[in-house]
Amino acid sequence: MAERVVDRHNQYLRIEGVTKRFGDFVAVDNVSLSIFKGEIFCLLGGSGCGKTTLLRMLAGFESPTSGRILIDGQDMAGIPPYERPVNMMFQSYALFPHMTVAANVAFGLEQEGVARVEIDRRVGEMLDIVKLGEFAKRKPHQLSGGQRQRVALARALVKKPKLLLLDEPLGALDKKLREHTQFELINLQEQLGVTFVVVTHDQEEAMTLASRIGVMNKGQIVQVGTPTEIYEFPNSRFVADFIGSVNMFEGRLIEDEPGHVRIRCEELDSTVFVSHGISAAPDARVFVAIRPEKIEMTRGQSAEGENCVGGVVREIAYMGDLSVYLVRLDSGRMVRVTIPNIERHDERIVWDERVLLRWQPSSPVVLTQ
């Protein structure tokens, strides 16, 4: 991610205590969030977590059962979608099939009553920015998936909205195109300075695009932070497990000091020494989360001391740039380890070899919930 200009003093979008009920079902549960001007904020969660409902409330297609939404200081209660300074890029793109690309992009400006000459100028400008200048006269069915997406984007951005909402923007694209578009989106956002709110279930997408991520589960925001914060310092087992892969071990707190803690893990048959303090009751039951890439693996017979366990390699998945190892510990537990393939092929560790797993004291994250 490049550095982008985010105005942290401007709480451009404020979601205050918003709840949405459909009959007995609570889709969004008392969500409060502040989004700053100029940032790309991602709502990340699995299906049914409420992220899409929240997005639709921002757009105006649903109204909150309780709570307020303020955009640039203005309360959006009772304001219909066509009067909000917000535009949306739909998951299906929703391009008007009976209009040309240019007409699609011009639609929003026509509703504002902008002069024809001005419309043509801005449409032309926008189409050039998304590199679709020569396709202006085509109809949606004459475009490829990636081109259609850019039209949808152009159509929403040409109105210079205060907020752009994107619903699963990269979902319909294939892998190569997705990567390419991810960076394009970021560049576009920096160029135009529009505040983005993106909804996605794809963590990779969130991690790449976002300046901040809000992880949602069952209608609630579970954690808000930068991608680094979310990944390295998840605040709960749910978040740790949701983003990337993680090895989670249950244990008992046996030493709790301001500068370090010690946790006895039966599953590891060992003690984990973590080099930062946590706040928890003495003797509490906690969870230790260690990311697969933070584990060192070497050949060896017996584990000694803290932050070290021994096991046997059971499965290897070769991914080209790295390999994922599943190691069966002596205690019976399976641990996932990711090793970049630095060595040449013949020197790598193979199946059934006895290995020792080690990690830095700063690597584990201790979770109490």
Binding site: A59, G60, F61, P80, P81, Y82, E83, V86, N87, M88, F90, Q91, S92, A94, F96, P97, H98, F107, G108, Q111, E112, R138, K139, H141, Q142, L143, S144, G145, G146, Q147, R155, A156, K159, L177
Partner: protein
């Protein structure tokens, strides 16, 4: 399942023969000089005698003109009301009386025409007694009756088009600043127009062709073409009718074939354009 080709071909062959032989036979005998129609008068046939008589038959021509007027009016009325009903039923959530509206737009599809005929006639009579309108029955009552029974067909066609409609399109329009009325006229209506046109054509054909309901609700001097045809053919075959039938079949056939060709061409053009798009660099 290519080995089943013979089954498919024979079934379709038989079926299509069954459908077309009566029509073709009817057309064939329209050129027969004999009044008996089905007994081929080899010496004097083929002849255009009956066609000539047709064009001199003012009664039939007058009835045809009445039928066209009624059909055009009914179809337009049915198209408007049927489309509205279709929109209401698809878009609006539950509302009081929804079940009734839904029932009223489905029942005419299967209701025997004699029941609809008698019920509407009695309605007109009752109205006439109560408020003086309609004063006697004629074009107006027939048109009203036709609108009522054909609008159900339009509703069905529009409903099935709307069922496959992408709601996101309307939401996108709203999101871009269009008020609901604008969304309807600029987005929804253009996209369902083909369905409305089919509905109109369907309603036109049904009205143009109707004999039973027309008989009940027509008055003196407002005889429609089907009514005239019916009264003639009750007594048996009549060569003028064969000639009339041939003309109608040819008109319809030309229309259907032309529209099918046109649609196929559109389809092919569209496919070509989509292929073009796929080969572009994204």
């Amino acid at each position: 399942m290519n080995d089943r080709g013979w089954f498919r071909k024979s079934v379709l062959g038989f079926g299509l023969a069954f459908l077309y032989i009566p029509i073709l036979s009817m057309m064939f005998f329209s050129f027969n000089n004999s009044r008996l129609v089905t007994v081929w008068d080899a010496e004097n046939s083929p002849t255009l005698r009956w066609y000539v008589r047709l064009f001199e038959n003012d009664q039939l021509l007058g009835a045809a003109w009445i039928s066209i007027k009624i059909a055009a009016l009914s179809a337009s009325g049915a198209a408007i009301l049927g489309t509205l009903a279709g929109l209401v039923l698809t878009r609006f959530g539950p509302f009081r009386g929804r079940a009734l509206l839904s029932a009223m737009t489905t029942a005419p599809l299967v209701m025997p025409e004699v029941i609809m005929g008698i019920s509407m006639l009695l309605l007109f009579v009752a109205f006439e007694q109560m408020i003086g309108w309609p004063a006697g029955r004629g074009l107006v009552t027939i048109t009203i009756a036709h609108v009522t029974f054909t609008m159900a067909y339009v509703t069905v066609v529009v409903q099935s088009r709307l069922a496959g409609f992408d709601d996101a399109l309307e939401e996108a329009a709203l999101d871009l600043g269009a008020k609901p009325a604008t969304v309807f006229f600029k987005i929804t209506l253009p996209l369902i127009m083909p369905a409305i046109v089919s509905g109109w054509l369907l309603a036109f054909t049904l009205s143009w062709d109707d004999v039973v309901i027309s008989q009940f609700v027509s008055g003196p001097g407002s005889s429609t073409l089907p009514m005239e045809i019916f009264s003639r053919v009750r007594r048996g075959v009549s060569p003028d009718i064969n000639a009339l039938a041939t003309i109608m079949v040819l008109i319809v056939a030309t229309g259907v074939v032309a529209s099918t060709i046109w649609m196929k061409r559109q389809e092919r053009k569209r496919l070509l354009e989509e292929q073009m798009a796929r080969s572009d660099i994204p």
